[in-house]
Symmetry: C2
Subunit: 197 residues, 2 copies
């Protein structure tokens, strides 16, 4: 049986020996999240400085579908934007966790959801000009809703809506959180094939 919870790898990256830009110096800044400030020799011979989040950090995202075929969405306050956005379940992959394990944990913490049917969607890079992070999206099917336990630094509320309504909002641009919106777009075909949408 195919392992539907495995993501096609993004790790077949350019081999180090073939990098077109060469690192001259690299400095870790004393902040959380980790930032690197490098000086880089460009392909044309010039130099630049580059501030970025290095590769290694991962996050998981989850489209939770209930046995009734509805989707569990969040309204979450996002401090950098000073506003509340509609989102899917999401959170960082901790040290020692797989993306699937993080997805299980975040589903339980953020919306109190439990699922045994998971489908991996194509992974993606949230902002390749600035961060080396990779995000791992999933669909979780037949999600049972128990009690949730958000972290102190999470301000969120849960809203279960029909799938057609969620996709109407998506197409109308009412889900401007890009990682959530991209996850929903990648989930659409699979939800249609299963007759859920």
């Amino acid at each position: 049986m195919a392992d539907t919870t495995h993501h096609a790898s993004l790790e077949a990256l350019t081999p180090d020996a073939e990098q077109p830009w060469q690192v001259q110096t690299s400095r870790e800044l004393p902040f959380e999240p980790l930032l690197h400030l490098d000086t880089v020799r460009l392909h044309g011979g010039g130099h630049t400085s580059y501030l970025y989040r290095p590769r290694g950090e991962k996050a998981s995202l989850v489209v939770p579908i209930t046995p009734q075929g509805e989707i569990v969405l969040l309204q979450q306050y996002r401090y950098p934007l000073r506003t509340t956005l509609t989102e899917v379940v999401a959170g960082g992959v901790e040290v020692g966790e797989t993306p699937l394990e993080a997805a299980h944990r975040e589903l339980r913490e953020e919306v109190g959801g439990v699922s045994e049917e998971w489908l991996a969607l194509p992974c993606f890079c949230p902002q390749p000009s600035f961060t080396g992070q990779i995000f791992y999206p999933f669909i979780a099917l037949n999600v049972r809703l128990l009690d949730s336990a958000p972290e102190e630094s999470e301000l969120l509320s849960v809203q279960t809506v029909p799938l057609a309504e969620a996709y109407r909002r998506l197409d109308a641009g009412a889900i401007p959180n890009a990682p959530s919106a991209l996850t929903l777009f990648h989930a659409r075909g699979e939800l249609q094939r299963r007759g859920l949408l």
Copy 2:
């Protein structure tokens, strides 16, 4: 006639007087791009520190469609990931520019494209947990290709492909640059309505 180049605003954000978290201190870090390191009083009374890119910066993205109904894609080297990704045209909005003006400029610089028919797609936030940036995507129709002039710090090549091929790659997860992929998903309906896809 409707102004098809206008984005629905994301600027109706939570009024400052109603912010659930209160800024205690805010420090600008001496780097480019601009970062803020704040101490914040949370809704539950606790405190946290928050490192983020503040609101204000914008970027524009362009799906360039030729008179033959093909799409112009880029292969661009992305230093934070140390790899080359398939992308649409994109770049920062400079001081004094509108998103549409930046879109015109980036289309010309990156692929040598010129267009007089622009359609705005829903704007989005690339990574709301970390950045207050807002991205403004467009479709440019009937794009004529002249000479291009990438910046010294841009390592890219141009590839014109049939629209159906671009969307086959998108659905297969072969366009992992999230802002590019989301722009393509938002463009799909409009391209279908115009009989281009």
